[in-house]
Amino acid sequence: MPKAEISNQIRKLRFEHGEMTQQALAERVGCSRQTIVLLEQERYVPSLVLAMRIAKVFGAAVEDVFTLGE
């Protein structure tokens, strides 16, 4: 799989939300911490469901968290 063409602000948003840990985010969205690590490093493109769950945790719109690369 090539490098994900979707960039994200997850790491930044975590720190802006009380320095939320990767584990805490993983538990809230129902995925493993490994998936969060890979998402932050843009090595994995999430499903729409997971993307929406992550955005919901941060109270943001999906497009504010994830950006389609040019």
């Binding site: 799989m1 090539p2 490098k3 129902g30 493993s32 911490r33 690590v37 090595r43 997971l50």
Partner: protein, 201 residues
């Protein structure tokens, strides 16, 4: 049907090199396929390396596959060691040895059952024990099982025909070994497929 049997009879009586050529041809095709797979794997789009210092924690599925493979390989190695030490014929003829040999292989099945029960429990949960990535990896792992079974059967076919084609018959106990080895290869290929899946994704 008669013609086919007649043809097979002819083939059996033909020069001994005929079967060798066919079998080595099959082997060459298998090696070619393996080479093609290797080249495809080497040329796959590569992910950038993880940032330095990044800790990639193992998922529950990954840990289960590691333990399943480790615990499954041990009785498999013990069974192979028995065959190498005593010989297949002696194991087949000796009830005690055959019982121990079968117990080793049953141990692989028991471990696989434990893994399967655990997986089934996890797949019915919605607590994130298995996330979407895990499920994709789990869904692709059975490809390894069918490949492992095919390779095991191919190895038996080539080996047995090469070894026994002049005799024209294969000792009965090889059926026992073929069955169990295919089972074991298939069961062990599942955790292996899962672990490879994590390396690829």
């Amino acid at each position: 049907m008669y013609n086919l049997l007649y043809y097979l009879g002819d083939l059996k009586d033909a020069e001994s090199h005929t079967m060798s050529v066919i079998l080595w041809g099959i082997l060459a095709i298998l090696v070619g396929l393996a080479g093609f797979t290797l080249v495809a794997w080497l040329r796959r789009p590569k992910l950038p390396p993880l940032a330095p210092g990044t800790e990639l924690p193992a998922t529950p599925l990954q840990r289960l596959a590691r333990w399943g493979l480790l615990l499954g390989v041990l009785p498999g190695i013990a069974a192979i060691a028995m065959v190498l030490h005593y010989g297949a014929q002696r194991i087949y003829d000796d009830d005690g040895l055959r019982l121990v040999f079968t117990l080793f292989l049953l141990a692989i099945i028991v471990i696989f059952l434990v893994v399967t029960v655990r997986l089934t429990t996890w797949t019915t949960r919605a607590d994130g024990t298995l996330d979407e990535r895990d499920r994709v990896i789990l869904g692709r792992a059975p490809v390894f099982q069918s490949a492992a079974m095919l390779l095991t059967l191919a190895a038996w076919e080539v080996g047995l025909i090469e070894h026994f084609h002049t005799a024209g018959a294969v000792p009965l106990f090889y059926l026992y070994l073929i069955f169990w080895s295919c089972w074991a290869a298939s069961l062990l290929a599942l955790p292996l497929g899962i672990l490879v899946g994590y390396r690829r994704r």
